[in-house]
């Protein structure tokens, strides 16, 4: 029990240190939820040209997201010539691999992709605390027990940062946004050499 309390205290201190380190001004908790509207329209097919740099390899493909229902998305990556590289279904708490090529069928890789994709398509997250910095409003949320900060500028989500131990682990950067369609998405990992660049087509 004592160790649990120490761990929890350490966790809270670690998470709390990120806003302080970055000179965030506390705003309080003025909203219940923070929204990510970018993959929320069931009528739309979200199609992106993907460029992926993973470790010492770089490859491309077509990245496809479709919302099928509340909290329910299908996410597929194909090669430019149409062969499926992976095919996942995310449904609230469940994650199913429908298809993945043998070269990518590694538990650790699927775990990383699962975490990234969950963040990417999650529409609504509970806001625990609000901050401001310059023109940004920043909301602290948790997803699978991990802390994420949602950066909004002019009431538009432009960045999500996953933080662990007070350090930035993964950045999701949204730019060229028009009518809730993101023209450019970058997913940058700071701890491992993995970069995903998505351009709407």
């Amino acid at each position: 029990m004592r160790y649990l309390l120490i761990s929890l205290t350490f966790l809270l201190v670690s998470c709390g240190s990120y806003p302080r380190k970055n000179d965030f001004q506390e705003l309080g908790k003025s909203i219940e939820y923070v929204n990510n509207p970018y993959f929320s329209d069931k009528t739309k097919d979200y199609i992106y040209k993907a460029k992926i740099e993973a470790f010492d390899k770089s490859f491309g493909g077509i990245f496809i997201v479709k919302k099928l229902g509340p909290g329910h998305h299908r996410i597929v990556l194909t090669t430019e010539m149409g062969n499926k590289i992976f095919d996942f279904t995310l449904n609230r708490q469940s994650f199913r691999t429908n298809r993945i090529i043998p070269e990518m069928n590694k538990r650790i890789l699927i775990k990383i992709l699962k975490k990234d994709l969950k963040v990417l398509v999650r529409e609504k997250s509970t806001a625990f605390m609000g901050y401001t910095k310059k023109r940004d409003t920043i909301w602290e949320t948790r997803l699978d027990e991990e802390t994420h900060y949602y950066f909004n500028k002019d009431q538009q989500l432009n960045k999500i940062i996953k933080v662990k131990g007070g350090k930035e682990k993964v950045e999701f950067i949204f730019s060229e946004i028009n009518d809730n369609i993101v023209g450019q998405i970058q997913i940058l990992h700071n701890k491992i050499p993995l970069k995903i660049n998505l351009t709407a087509i």
Binding site: K44, D45, K51, G60, I64, T78, T79, I101, E103
Partner: protein
């Protein structure tokens, strides 16, 4: 009402499938000979193409297009120009990618499965793939087209590809369309147009 629907459905099924008939043995022999002759005399092919990707959960097909160049015996370049600039060159045993200026020769297409698929695509461009022992082959005909369906024997390939269909122009014995059907029913369809044969084509086109 329901009975009427069943009757109409059965009628439509037979009407549609009635258009496609199995070739006779002599028709198959004649057709294979014609395709082989065309293939042997083909030194280069240049063609535009449109590719459609069908995924059952999407509202629309994903359409991409570009041009293809083939030079005998084994160089092929697929150059996608819309909606992005991307080319993949199969030059002998090597594969080269140019993704909007980023060049590499490392690609997931290097996997054994994709290599086999790429071989099939190259063979299909030439139209000469009837001797591939890895497939069960069925020959069909319609009014204007010949259709050849290839079903993989290898379970590892069958897990990804249910069948591979080639549609041939009857008079020219050249491939007009390629369709790769996955076990789920999702498919990739490539339709060729503006095809020119045996025009001079520099090796530089296939350089990395």
């Amino acid at each position: 009402m329901r009975n009427l629907f069943v009757i109409v459905s059965v009628f439509v099924f037979f009407a549609l499938h009635g258009q496609e008939k199995a070739m006779t043995t002599s028709e198959i022999t004649a057709f294979k000979n014609k395709v082989s002759a065309t293939s042997l005399s083909t030194k280069t092919i240049q063609s535009d193409f449109t590719q459609y990707k069908y995924l059952d959960f999407l509202s629309n097909l994903i359409e991409t297009s570009g041009n293809m160049a083939f030079k005998a015996p084994d160089m092929v370049k697929w150059h996608y120009t819309k909606p992005y600039n991307y080319s993949v060159v199969f030059n002998k045993d090597k594969l080269y990618i140019n993704d909007d200026g980023s060049k590499s020769n490392v690609d997931l297409g290097n996997s054994k499965l994709f290599k086999k698929l790429n071989e099939l695509i190259i063979a299909s461009v030439k139209g000469d793939m009837f001797n591939d022992v890895d497939f069960v082959t069925t020959y069909l005909k319609t009014e204007s087209l010949n259709k050849v369906v290839f079903v993989p024997k290898d379970q590892k390939i069958a897990d990804y590809i249910a069948s591979f269909e080639l549609f041939f122009d009857r008079s020219k014995a050249s491939v007009q369309e390629v369709k790769i059907i996955e076990p789920t029913g999702d498919y990739t369809q490539i339709i060729f147009r503006n095809r020119t044969l045996n025009q001079p084509l520099s090796d530089a086109v296939f350089a990395h």
